[in-house]
């Protein structure tokens, strides 16, 4: 199993709670701001295919993945394909370029997204995506055994390109080799790829939809959704890096975020209104490096909030404290 890429330029690990979902952030005048595009994402496709995938098939797979993000009703996401280019993805040229690259040095990386960010306001100036030709790719509608589904990985990388970071909503097992094998995911933005031949990750989860709706909210997303906020503590102290998952029993959806500061505060926003069960777990199903650039606390037991919490429509819940115990 190969891991998906870390983002090449990370301004992650916000020092104050980001308002919902784990997003990329940039430090602007001492404050963390979301990293986003202004206006449509105008992109080029690099004019190079790979084994089993032509340039046209690459263009179409990326277009399908882009359409999946654009179809989220509660978000204003727009892509514009500008044409083929001879440029390669990692060139700093002020243009968003998506294409194949041969990166034998990144033997466990299927693809990666790099950014050029205006640090005066957090705007994305340029973002490129490459897919590693060290892997066998597939654009088959039903998937191809032994090959990685290009559309699924493009969907994940486009999530990064839009400003989303990784979600920890998934289950993985650590093997003796040191690799992690994913057993289940609850977000396209989970950092570990599913197995080759799988095409299920062409579909966004509720967690992805909440994240993108928080970054690019449609007017309906602001008025029709709610937020839950609170604090995770251990022995009276805040816990940094605790993974907090909100479960809506009525809709069966899972949406998560992290405690993002030393006080252990968290916010989960863009939730469909309703009562939620909150579950707190340590970040032990993926490498913490995929999420945080600072040390986090993973020494505590899985704990549920003592009561369910309501995300009110157009507002926020009362703060809830969830006390966890050491393992």
């Amino acid at each position: 199993m190969k891991t998906r890429a870390l983002i090449m330029l990370l301004a992650l690990a916000a020092s104050s709670p980001a308002h919902a979902y784990l997003k990329l952030g940039a430090l602007v005048d001492g404050a963390v701001v979301d990293v986003t595009w202004r206006g449509p994402v105008r992109y080029f496709i690099s004019d190079r295919g790979t084994s089993g995938v032509s340039t046209t098939q690459l263009r179409d797979a990326v277009a399908r993945a882009a359409a999946t993000w654009s179809a989220v009703e509660s978000a204003n996401v727009e892509f514009a394909y500008l044409g083929l280019t001879s440029a390669v993805p990692d060139e700093i040229d002020g243009r968003a370029t998506i294409g194949f690259m041969d990166r034998p040095d990144l033997e466990q990386v299927l693809g990666a997204t790099s950014f050029l960010i205006d640090i005066t306001n957090g705007d994305i100036v340029e973002a490129d995506i490459f897919f590693n030709t060290q892997f066998q790719w597939s654009v088959s509608a039903t998937g191809t055994p032994g090959r990685v589904d290009l559309e699924s990985v493009a969907l994940h990388e486009l999530g990064h390109l839009l400003g989303l970071s990784h979600s920890a909503l998934g289950e993985a097992e650590l093997q003796a080799s040191g690799n992690r094998v994913v057993t289940a995911t609850g977000a396209v933005m989970f950092p570990i790829a599913t197995s080759s031949g799988t095409i299920a990750e062409r579909v966004l989860h509720a967690d992805d939809i909440a994240g993108i709706s928080d970054l690019y909210p449609a007017s309906s997303a602001i008025s029709d959704t709610g937020a839950i906020f609170g604090r995770v503590t251990k022995n009276g102290q805040g816990v940094l890096g605790a993974h907090v998952t909100a479960f809506d029993p009525e809709r069966g959806v899972l949406i998560s975020n992290f405690t993002l500061n030393p006080q252990g505060e968290f916010v989960i926003a863009r939730l469909p209104p309703g009562p939620y069960v909150l579950r707190v777990e340590p970040l032990d199903d993926a490498s913490p490096d995929s999420f945080f650039s600072v040390p986090i606390d993973a020494n505590f037991r899985v704990t549920y909030a003592p009561r369910m919490v309501v995300a009110p429509q157009g507002g926020s819940s009362r703060s809830i404290e969830i006390q966890v115990a050491p393992k």
């Binding site: 479960f247 069960v277 579950r279 369910m308 429509q313």
Partner: protein
């Protein structure tokens, strides 16, 4: 005038309709008291992830299961009835209660089974009903009846932060006992007990199934 005649005269003044043979159409009855509602489940749900299996629809991985219940509760009830015929009364009523919504967590290999504290809901029911007084009049102070009706349900979560609405339909029966006056009296006081079977549609529910629960009411009434 003898003492017994004086008492009889006072009663006649106080309850001028006592001598009538039947309830006049238009008679208004005001009821108020306590209502107990039984608890019921509002659905089971599983927190599921998508497994790493080939195909477009791989089988799910269950992170944990949630079983939800609304607990039994005691509330307040008021009803106003208007007699439309000798044996038929049309009623409007309102019930307020604070039932507890609770959750049981199971199937989580990392946390074990546990019951969450839950929350106290605000539950309002506004209903209309038809009450039929049964043609069994063996005791001068007792009258039994059958009742059926339906209403609008409004349930509010924590601090009224979320409103969910639905409908309740019910049928049942009960009895009234006159403490003062008689069933045919225009001004009388008594107690009333109802047993109903309720069918609840929508409201706070995680499966949107029809829920069935019993209610018992004990009310004082004043017939005007």
């Amino acid at each position: 005038m003898s003492r017994s005649l004086i008492v009889a005269a006072l009663l006649t003044i106080g309850f001028p309709d006592a001598a009538r043979a039947q309830v006049a159409a238009g008679q208004v009855t005001i009821n108020g008291g306590l209502s107990w509602a039984g608890g019921y489940g509002i659905g089971e749900s599983s927190a599921q992830l998508r497994t790493n299996a080939p195909g477009a629809t791989p089988p799910p991985f269950t992170l944990f299961d949630v079983d939800s219940q609304i607990g039994a509760t005691l509330g307040g009830e008021v009803r106003v009835g208007v007699a439309v015929a000798r044996r038929f009364t049309v009623e409007g009523g309102a019930v307020f209660a604070r039932p507890r919504l609770s959750f049981n967590i199971s199937g989580d290999p990392e946390a074990g089974t546990q019951e969450l504290e839950g929350e106290s809901l605000q539950h309002f029911l506004f209903d209309a009903a038809v009450l039929w007084q049964l043609p069994m009049e063996r005791h001068p102070r007792w009258r039994s009846f059958a009742v059926a009706g339906g209403g609008y349900l409004r349930q509010l979560h924590q601090d009224r932060t979320l409103v969910e609405s639905g409908q309740v339909y019910y049928f049942g029966g009960g009895a009234r006992y006159w403490l003062r006056g008689r069933p045919t009296s225009a001004r009388s006081i008594g107690v009333r007990g109802d047993v109903r079977l309720n069918l609840r549609l929508q409201g706070i529910d995680f499966d949107d199934d029809v829920r069935v629960y019993p209610t018992l009411s004990l009310l004082m009434f004043l017939a005007l």
